[in-house]
Amino acid sequence: MLIPSRNRGGLSRRRFVTGLSAGGLVAALPRPLLARTPTAGQIPPVARPRWDLRVGRTRIEIDRKVLHAPCIGGDVPGPILRWRQGDTVSINVTNTLADEETSIHWHGLRLPAAMDGVPGLSFAGIAPGKTFTYRFPITQSGTYWYHSHSGMQEAQGLYGAIVIDPPAPDPQPCARDYVILLSEWSDVSPMDMLDNLKMQDDYYVFRQRTLASLPREARAAGGTLAALKDRLAWSRMRMAATDIADVTGVIYTYLLNGHAPDMNWNAIFTPGERVRLRFINGASMTFFDIRIPGLEMLVVAADGNAVEPVPVDEFRIGVAETYDVIVQPTQARAYTIFAQSEDRTGYARGTLAPQPGMSGPIPPMDPRPVRTMVDMGMGDMKPGESMHGMAMPGHRHGSAMAGMDMADHKTQPPMSGMPMPRHEEGAMDDMDMKDMQPAPTALGGHGHGHSLPMPAAHLHKPGTMDHDAPAADMAPVLEVDDPGPPPLNVENQNIARMPTDRLASPGDGLEHNGRRVLSYSQLRATRPGTDPRPPTREIIMHLTGNMERYIWGFNGRKFSESGPIRLRRNERVRFTLINDTMMEHPIHLHGLWSELENGQGAYRPYKHTLISQPGSKLSYLVTADAPGLWAYHCHLMLHMETGMFRTVIVE
């Protein structure tokens, strides 16, 4: 029976009949609407401080993929927990799993370290048959989520949304309020994924550049020779420009509130109403690009914290991030909530409609992004060139001249899809490459300020992130933990020699797409930060990895080869992330806020998870005001499990 929907414990009669009438031949047609759980995405009517959650395995079938999923209350995602700021919540989590421990981590919540739910760091985990009571005061409000931090249970279904009511009336009142939790579903266990990736890093990628795709690339690059040169340059580096996601729609079905695209999750509105949509990326390996064709979205919160409203057509949500958006549909028609995966191998989809059961048109997916030299952090240096000997105390990458060249390149007028004029001077291999790609950081659709690369003098130099100009930030940073350029070793295959500021870029694949796409530089908190102190210490962390061996880490080392990051109590620290890999990494610091230095001065957005774009450099401030052991890691599950994880100790 080719029934796309999920069922557990056999087919219901209705589904069986639907399946019959549909037959096998309509496999390619839109499937009938089968609203599964009418409550999915519905926020409980009132906040409650006490919850009992039972973790067990349940047989769930979605999109013909059967999984004995670890989950809460037999459902994926788990229940939406609604709390109220100011309350002390008490959650009893009972582990009914046969022979594995479990845990629940409250993602983005500020709480005592012992309640954070990370086995080994916060507590010893919850053994089978045992109950653990989490108890902590709620000091914040907004959209968050929870997930297991044990084994890889999160990847298989142990996650859910948290909505916390603010103490005061919401400054953005909405008639309707929905949670939209995006995730993945696969019958391949994450352990098997990792096993396959260790043997073949592009195991799940079937969109490589091939002979068959050469004519298309040649057209885009303005010549076969140019396309071949580009390929050769990537091949020489033993990397693939098509490496966007490690695990893809080849095995994933993308879910929206636990619904496969053909199950068409529905949210109801009355025309003219303001509808709040609380987007949560609960996936383990997938970034989503979200839009609702025909509707403008007003981004009003990021990672639970209110931001000045930004009207956008589209935004990218990294794994573990949350965004609240408000839409105001005026027509009585169906609008499609379309969340395509960054690599464009699939999408999650739902519908906003005045009546249940409606569906709107599904837009085609965009072309998949292709990585460029900017993602390699290469500027205009040759891939093989060593920067050793150039490394100086200022930790400057590249000479001033090189930096000038780079700026020159990027300030070319953006001509999306058109070959850029060749530069006569020093036409090195990868310069040629860049010539073939549209200028990476030029004007997006919205004409907002743009991330032109910083001049060389500012590149990669501690304490000179020049987003926040105020005098406070000009104060000297007393202590700098600079690991230096990462080594090229077993665990690291690339050095971003010219990392650029990409905060104004919405991300690979979203530039110049004709839509207004959110970028980090647009996020502005609605109130100034609570800690005005300038940082007294800067910690530079390089994100590193070896795709070929599938090892990830920081500073060329995986977790097991590193020590903890020690912060003094109440220390004010600037973290600077330099991404030497060619992938995005959503970096999550538990227990403490990450205040992104994105040029908004004192109105820095407070986030718990930050996307570090490939080849980029960004910084954020942290106040170490919560003692204990905290996890600090890339939220791509397989990156975390292979070493991109550190323990932060606040003493």
Partner: protein, 281 residues
């Protein structure tokens, strides 16, 4: 002259070793000082005032219940049969396999390599190696161990030392030097490349060369470049782990070995239409 060339060829894998290691970790003294994942954790040597906030320390973190939050030291087991094929000829079809398996973590692995050809009911070119493999750079592993030539000919055993990895432009490459229990030297160089015609249809040229310092007529081995086994395989990856292929393969003896085989009235080389399956787990 020929001797010099031969010596150079034999030395290639050995000399390539440190050179490769050097080229990959050029000047990166800071962290290559760390030898193994489990070695005593050392402070970086003096140099520029670099200090990593997450530098390895001697004061281990007291994890609750001794539980490590992530398992980045997993061990894996994989095996691949690159060649499992019939080489068609009017006089009789040869059957050949060539594969390898490994078990271990990111740095240390145990490798097993095996290849052989069944020809007219006789097994020859049987070559089996058990190697310890150590990752030394982003793309290269150093391998050392033993090789046994076990087939229907006389058995020979060798000590082996070589490199295996991914060369520039994504060439798969292996070069190994051998020294036998009788004090002879040999070398093997293997390479292959995947041309993606589509994402599933892949054309792979592959070649393997064997060199020896001394002839061994009982094993059809000649001094110098002794034999070559090459193929041009067009495979279709039905699944990643299962790909049937059609190929032309060439197995032949060269230089002195060619004369030895000729004197033994053997076939000195043949280009054959070949069918097979590439699979792995």
């Amino acid at each position: 002259m020929r001797r010099a060339l031969l010596a150079a060829a034999l030395l290639l894998p050995v000399t390539a070793l440190p050179a490769l290691a050097r080229s990959q970790t050029h000047g990166q003294t800071i962290t290559t000082a760390r030898k193994t994942a489990t070695a005593t954790l050392r402070k970086p040597p003096p140099g520029p005032a670099y200090h990593a906030a997450d530098a390895p320390t001697n004061a281990p973190v007291a994890y609750v219940g001794g539980m490590k939050p992530v398992m980045d030291q997993g061990r894996y087991l994989h095996g691949i049969l690159d060649q499992l094929e019939g080489r068609y000829a009017p006089g009789g079809t040869d059957f050949r396999w060539d594969g390898e398996a490994w078990y271990g973590g990111d740095y240390n692995r145990l490798w097993l390599k095996s290849e052989g050809t069944l020809e007219h009911g006789r097994l020859h070119d049987g070559d089996h190696e058990l190697l310890y493999s150590r990752a030394v750079s982003p793309y290269w592993n150093v391998q050392a161990g033993v090789r046994a030539d076990i087939d229907d000919g006389p058995t020979r055993t060798w000590g082996a030392l070589g490199v295996q990895g991914l060369a520039l432009y994504q060439f798969e490459f292996q070069a190994t030097a051998y020294v036998s229990d009788r004090g002879r030297f040999a070398s093997r160089i293997e390479g292959s490349y995947d041309f993606l015609l589509t994402n599933r249809l892949i054309l792979q040229p592959q070649a393997e060369f064997n060199l020896y310092t001394k002839s061994d007529p009982a094993r059809q081995v000649g001094a110098g470049l002794s034999d070559v086994d090459a193929g041009l395989r067009l495979r279709y990856e039905v699944w990643r782990k299962f790909a049937p292929y059609v190929a032309v393969s060439y197995a032949g003896y060269l230089t002195q070995a060619r004369r030895i085989v000729h004197d033994q009235h053997g076939e000195s080389g043949a280009l054959r239409l070949t069918f097979g399956v590439r699979s792995w787990f």
